[in-house]
């Protein structure tokens, strides 16, 4: 099983790399390979994983840290694999004929890398691995939204999406770490087994909140619902794939993964129900108000994600049932609608309902009218479509609530929001096709110029909607969840309260839609949208103020800010950790009778640096401080440190001399008197605090020094007598390796900077002047 899983995750990444290497004209065709392979590998597994069957695949990662890269296959994960592969295949085929000039190897590479990352999320059993793939989807999705980076709207959408989901990702990481520390494992399967112990611990609220933040930001739940409409600058296939079918469902998927661990928590149902239903309502209202078809779909996606979130909340009472149907329903109709709106944009030349609602397109584009009709009616949850079944599942969950009061409240919200959903669904279809004036046929491309694939792909994606709606018992019981028996739900079998609710909503929706049509404009409430916009603007304003204050562009300011911050941290530690200026505990050995020598070198060097004029002189006397430190190491019998210190000091002295040769001669201090005072006081504060820290550390014996263990282990384990070197190459070898890599990267950075600087100097002879100005900067 492991090779299959590795291939499913790996093939999209491999093809992504290939696409970048091979000729441009191959890239679209090549991109088809990845989802096709994923489907070929995953489809045969589907019948094997009915019900609760779980297959775990152990993969060692960092055994000492309890971190694994375990993979798992179960019904939910495999369902997502099929969704990602199936819709992915359609999206790639659609994209090849839709993108035109926007098509590039980079686009396909980003899309395929996203696909791989998404597959990684749904097949991970290790939460750490899941997090890694989660962040990869954030990065690749920002790349895809901002693909058209010439446009300000695209850049803004990409940055906003990246910030919101990126911050959520950090919360997720913190939550994962907390949960892992609490339970001693990062694996979902093992966490679920300890569910009782975790929920029994009152502190489980902390990781739960953080994990929820991760899920809510990814799935654009209230109050983070604003980023998804902003992300609609992406081309239609990206919106259909990332922002309706897969990525935004990752948050819901995470809730599904957390369900077995946390569902018995007293916070689970109220939080998810409140957040989900609020999102459903708020986003539904935004969708009703929207005039841009794509924005409308974006808001309606957020609304449905709210439904799914609330659904997982209700499952804690009624038990898991039909979540796959709901996710499938939405993924199918919403991605097809996004793709169809892409077609509308091409054919009708606009996606603005203001224009379209006046024109009568229905006679001219019958096939598209049928397809958009199926999609929109599925969105409204009309009978004979899978959407109707999905709504039935949702109602069943809502009316199974814990108490009568809660059922009433949740049901009321659900009914209101569902009515809104019916209204905007009707708005999509009727607004696009049922106007009164003859349409402007030549605003978009003529039908012959548009590839038929732009209608075939959404048509295929909508097929399960119809099949599942007409033969629900067969479709749900055999294809979607084989092994489970589904009562033959369909209105021609029986009528119960849920069906009555559904039909009632449809009636309300139609009335609401007609009423809305007669209103000139809806009142724009100062709703949560504005509040969140305000919050976003506030955050941006604050961060730009912060950047201006801290990143002033001159070294003096950087130094002051960095040092004072570091010293503030130290001061906090000293204040609450206790500090001492005790000298009694100092180990004054005989070798310290030479202590005056380094003391003289260090203090002398420091004072001379301030007093001597000229850069070269200053650099040389600064080296005195370093050599003084080397003497200290010798006195304390640390030959390795002393050697290193001497060599580093010497070589950096040479390098600094080489650099300072290029700098202009020092003139009189250009700083104003107040600035000099500030700098002086800052220096004094830093010096005194660090001095106190050094004194405290020197006079307080550490209760359990790390060194003894290393000393004891050095020879028996690593067979080396030089414990410093043993630590460097053996005990902490991976740290050393990381440092070496950082060194090489730093050298590369220096190389790049010098290249840029020297080409600039050649291009503009005035450049050195600017450097001078920056050096003498005083802002």
């Amino acid at each position: 099983m492991l090779p299959t899983l590795a291939l499913i995750i790996g093939v999209p990444f491999l093809v992504a790399a290939l696409v970048l290497l091979l000729p441009r004209s191959w890239s679209g065709r090549l991109a088809l390979v990845a989802p096709a392979v994923v489907l070929l590998l995953a489809v045969p597994l589907w019948p094997e994983f009915g019900g609760d069957a779980v297959h775990l695949e152990r993969v060692e990662w960092f055994p000492t840290l309890n971190m694994t890269a375990d993979l798992r296959v179960d019904r939910l994960g495999l369902f997502f694999v099929l969704l990602i592969g199936g819709i992915g295949l359609g999206i790639v085929q659609y994209g090849r004929y839709y993108l035109g000039k926007q098509e590039s190897p980079q686009f396909w590479a980003a899309l395929l890398a996203f696909m791989g990352a998404m597959l990684g999320i749904v097949l991970s059993d290790s939460l750490i691995l899941l997090f890694v793939f989660w962040e990869l989807t954030t990065i690749t999705s920002a790349l895809l939204i901002g693909m058209d980076f010439g446009k300000g709207e695209a850049r803004r959408g990409a940055i906003q999406a990246f910030l919101v989901t990126g911050l959520g990702g950090l919360a997720l990481l913190a939550g994962v770490v907390l949960l892992g520390q609490m339970a001693g494992t990062y694996n979902l399967s093992e966490l679920a087994a300890q569910s009782d112990a975790i929920v029994g611990n009152p502190w489980h609220l902390a990781p739960l909140i953080l994990l929820f933040l991760g899920a809510f930001t990814k799935s654009a739940q209230f109050p983070f619902h604003f980023w998804l409409p902003g992300a609609m600058a992406a081309p239609a296939p990206v919106s259909a794939y990332l922002h309706s079918a897969t990525m935004v469902k990752a948050g819901v998927f995470l809730l599904g993964r957390l369900f077995p661990i946390f569902h018995e928590s007293q916070y689970w149902l109220p939080t998810l129900a409140a957040v989900g239903l609020t999102t459903f309502l708020v986003a539904g209202w935004n969708a009703v108000k929207a005039y841009d078809l794509k924005q409308l779909l974006a808001h309606s996606t957020v609304a449905y994600l709210g439904v799914l979130t609330a659904l997982y909340g209700f499952y804690s009472v009624v038990g898991l049932r039909g979540e796959v149907v709901n996710i499938m329903n939405h993924a199918l109709y919403k991605s097809s609608l996004f793709l169809l709106i892409g077609w509308v944009e091409k054919r009708m030349g606009t996606r603005d309902l203001e224009l379209l609602q006046r024109e009568r397109w229905i006679g001219h584009e019958k096939l598209a009218a049928v397809l958009i009709g199926v999609g929109a009616f599925a969105m409204a949850g009309l009978p004979f479509l899978l959407g109707f079944m999905a709504k039935d599942v949702f109602f069943q969950a809502v009316i199974g609530g814990p108490t009568v009061e809660e059922i009433t409240l949740y049901l009321g919200l659900t009914l209101l929001a569902s009515t809104l959903a019916t209204i905007y669904a009707l708005k999509v279809w009727a607004g696009t096709f049922l106007g009164s004036e003859p349409p402007v046929l030549d605003r978009g491309y003529p039908p012959k110029k548009i590839s038929p694939w732009l209608l075939i792909v959404p048509g295929v994606l909508l097929l399960p909607q119809v099949v599942g709606g007409v033969f629900p018992a067969w479709f749900l019981g055999t294809v979607v969840e084989p092994g489970t028996t589904w009562s033959p739900w369909a209105i021609w079998y029986y009528i119960d309260v849920k069906v009555a609710l559904s039909l009632g909503i449809i009636v309300f929706g139609v009335v609401g839609y007609l009423y809305w049509r007669r209103l000139a404009a809806l009142p724009s409430l100062p709703g949560p949208q504005q509040v969140s916009d305000g919050l976003a603007d506030g955050a941006l304003g604050f961060s730009s103020w912060m950047s201006r204050a801290v990143q002033a562009g001159g070294h003096p300011r950087y130094f002051v800010v960095t040092l004072l911050f570091a010293v503030a941290m130290v001061a906090v530690g000293l204040r609450w950790g206790g500090w001492s200026v005790d000298t009694a505990a100092w180990a004054v050995g005989p070798e310290l009778s030479f202590g005056w020598l380094p003391a003289l070198l260090i203090t002398g060097g420091a004072f001379l640096t301030i007093l001597l004029p000229g850069r070269i002189a200053k650099v040389v006397v600064v080296a005195l401080v370093g050599y003084g430190m080397a003497v200290v190491y010798v006195l304390y019998r640390a030959p390795d440190l002393a050697l290193t210190q001497l060599l580093v000091e010497t070589i950096s002295l040479v390098l600094l001399l080489l650099i300072f040769r290029r700098m202009p001669r020092l003139t009189r201090d250009p700083r104003s008197l107040p600035t000099r005072w500030v700098h002086g006081i800052a220096s004094a504060v830093v010096g005194v605090t660090m001095g106190m820290l050094a004194w405290t550390i020197g006079s307080t014996a550490a209760p359990n020094p790390a060194g003894y263990e290393q000393l004891a282990l050095s020879y028996p384990v690593a067979q080396g007598q030089n414990v410093v070197n043993v630590i460097l190459v053996d005990f902490r070898g991976i740290d050393t390796f990381g440092e070496v890599v950082v060194l090489v990267i730093a050298a590369l950075g220096a190389l790049a900077l010098f290249r840029v600087a020297s080409t600039r100097k050649e291009a503009a002879p005035a450049a050195p002047k600017r450097t001078e100005k920056l050096v003498g900067n005083k802002r």
């Binding site: 055994p63 060599l647 030089n722 190459v729 070898g733």
Partner: protein, 138 residues
């Protein structure tokens, strides 16, 4: 400016310094020394060459080696770490063995390979940066 004394000293010092660096590298596991320190010693000797003979001749002699050194160093360190995984041990597990018997027994360790990688990377990085900073010195 050329100085006869400096040139003689630098010429004589390079092999001595290199031998000393290799000695530090070799004995690092048991006595003060190791890849980082040895790399710095060699870098110091190379910088001395550049000071004595000028940057240009030094560069033309050594650039082929120095350009590759960081990459080869990282590659060696990585390979030494990865090779442990071939035997089913975690990344960067080091192995030890004693070759020979009695007085002539020599301790060999894969840690030395890793340290050689560090050594090369340090030389390469220092030389690259020094070379950049010395741009324009004749």
């Amino acid at each position: 400016m050329r100085s006869l004394i400096l040139e003689r000293v630098a010429r004589g010092l390079l092999p001595v310094a290199t031998m000393f660096a290799l000695y530090l590298l070799w004995r690092g596991h048991n006595l003060p020394g190791g890849g980082f320190i040895a790399g710095l010693v060699t870098s110091g000797a190379l910088i001395l060459q550049a000071v004595a003979f000028g940057i240009k001749p030094t560069r033309s002699y050594l650039s082929g080696f120095l350009r590759l050194a960081p990459w080869v160093g990282v590659a060696i360190a990585l390979a030494s770490g990865l090779s442990a995984m071939l035997f089913g041990d975690p990344f960067l597990t080091q192995y030890h063995a004693y070759v020979g018997t009695g007085e002539s027994k020599v301790h060999v360790s894969t840690a030395l390979t890793f340290d050689i990688g560090v050594y090369l990377a340090v030389i390469g990085v220092t030389a690259t940066v020094a070379n950049l900073f010395a741009e324009g010195v004749e």
